[in-house]
């Protein structure tokens, strides 16, 4: 899942991004309003974490422009403004959630995960596809009774496919939602990681879960 963090306080930006990356998210960051808007317009982020008081452009202005351009990324406002009218203004402009500083990092993570589940109409924090079970909160994966160890990137890819289970997901989509903007990887890397995932998930004698749809992408599901 790919996130954008727009926050001007360097230390906060740096550590929140680090924590989110360690939680398996691809995170782009910006400390400036105008640059942040450019990022948000240029990529299809799953969640945008947005500070309100920013140099260059106010956070609410960014939100307004995003919604005016039809961008549907979930927006979580992260701000020191705690007045009811500030929250109302943010939510009325199309924000999906509001978190007041200082905050517990675990709460930020939980809220981001909740927004992601909303993004993919997935209310359950546990996704089951056949005998494959993914716990979104703990990022643990089982095939039957066997727990499967995945790297951060493999998990991110699997989670994205699981969120869109049954749908054909293009390589570009996967690349956009799993890799960071500054990453040097290209969408061909997706094929490599799909290969890794197949090796770890697929089991002889058990139904195939990752299906290649030639010329279009991949689909996660029990039926071919």
């Amino acid at each position: 899942m790919r996130l954008l963090l727009i926050e001007d306080f360097r230390a906060l930006r740096q550590y929140v991004a680090k924590g989110l990356r360690e939680a398996g998210f691809a995170v782009d960051t910006s400390g400036d309003g105008e640059e942040g808007l450019w990022y948000a317009m240029s990529n299809d982020y799953d969640v945008v974490i947005l500070d309100l008081m920013l140099p260059g452009m106010d956070g609410l202005e960014i939100l307004k422009k995003l919604r005016a351009k039809g961008r549907n990324s979930h927006v979580l406002i992260l701000t020191a403004k705690d007045r009811v009218e500030d929250r109302v203004a943010g939510l009325d402009l199309g924000a999906d959630d509001y978190l007041v500083k200082p905050f517990a990092f675990e709460e930020l993570l939980a809220r981001v995960r909740a927004l992601l589940r909303r993004s993919y109409v997935e209310k359950n924090p546990q996704i089951k596809i056949g005998d494959l079970r993914i716990e979104l909160g703990t990022q643990r994966v089982w095939r039957g009774r066997e727990q499967i160890k995945l790297t951060r990137r493999e998990y991110a890819l699997l989670e994205y496919l699981a969120m869109r289970a049954g749908q054909v997901v293009s390589r570009t989509d996967m690349w956009e939602h799993v890799y960071e903007f500054k990453s040097s990887s290209s969408s061909n890397v997706v094929d490599v990681y799909i290969g890794y995932l197949r090796k770890k998930i697929e089991r002889p004698g058990k139904p195939v879960l990752i299906h290649t749809v030639w010329g279009r992408g991949y689909r996660l599901g029990v039926q071919p």
């Binding site: 306080f9 906060l12 924590g19 020191a80 403004k81 500083k101 200082p102």
Partner: protein
Amino acid sequence: MTRSLQTRLLVGMIGGMLLLLTAFSFTLYAVISRALVNRFDAALLSTAQMLAASVEVDGNDIELELEAQQIALLNDPERPMFYQIWRPDGQIIAKSPALGTNDLAHLECSPDEPAFEASRRRNGRPERSVALKFMPGFDDEAGSQPGGDRILSLVVTRDAGDLRAELSFLRWLLLLTSIAVVTVSILISAIVVRRGLVPLNTIAGEIGAITEEDLSARIGDADVPTEIMPIRDKLNTLLSRLEAAFDRERRFTADVAHELRTPLAGMRSAMEVTLARERDIPEYESALRDCLTIVASMQTMVENLLMIARLEAGQVSFRAEQILLAELVNVCWRPFAQNAERHRITFENCIQKGMAVHSDVENLSMVLSNVLGNAAEYTDHAGRIRVTGNRTNHCAEVAVANTGCSLTAEHVLQVFDCFWRADPSRKDAGVHCGLGLALVQRIVKALGGTTSVDVQPGGIFMVRLTVPDTTHVH
């Protein structure tokens, strides 16, 4: 004296009315009673004159010849009337038969003027008497001639019970009328005063309804009497000042909370993320260094706030000494010089070397550091900072000008407010929180000087400090 305005007004109005009514009643009674007595006396005198005209001298005899009508008048049982006539030598010539053996009092009077007297009869009834002197008529047939020794005295007395009853009725009438008027006046006055004081009660109610949560309400928007308008206006002005003060305090508290929240969030995230898993020592060190930087900036902010609070409470002490301004400016510029050089900013200290001021060096350093730091921060790339100095009467003037200013005249009015920044977003998040110039203004004021700022054409921002020579330590 009672504190109630309503009671005061009522007492004043009713007291005044009582006084007027009493004076009026007494005057009216005096006039009417005088008129009644005069009327009574005129009738009495008329009767006396009629009796006098009925006295005739016939030779050596003096006779009183009363007609039947006169006799009937004298014998009126309702209002008995008595007369008695004396010769000059005191011999009684005639008197009312009803007197029997009794005599009327012989009143003295002048020949030209009748005399009146009030008295009481033996049975206690009131009566009035008139005494007059007259010359009796003479009978032409008998050839009698009038003479000086023929001047007779006549006293006529009449029962004055009716007159007394009329006067008594008049007294009661006036008394009862006065009581009725006073009673009605009290009722009307109470209503008028209460209605007159309604605007005051309304204003009191409006004031009572104003709470510290909402000071935006104003008093007496409509139907305020002219006399109360100045009070209303003063109260509204006071409310405006209170509202502004409360707003300032709320804004200040919110600003403090806001300025502390972001660095706190940074520290908390740094610690939580770092502690989330096992890490290398350099990673821990890096996180600790970041936290230390945040703590240092928070500490600066808290110290600045504390300093402002102490300055405003007059709790900062100063020690005056001779300060060479050019040297102090150079010392204060040093921490910013390297960064300014990187941005190719030209710094000029044009203060004459010998120029000095007698003031507190520690606080003046804080002032200059803040002003120069502010200039270094906001001067444009390859811009210029120029410090000039001037001595006037017991004062040193220091002006710090920097290029690259984009502030408007409206902004300039706010630069001394705590936490004010031209751009509310923080390009310098966590480094500057808008306290520098606020602190400068308060320190200079405590040193007895003044601070002013203005924006000159070409985007030059200038801070002018006037610091007086201080000889005392406080």
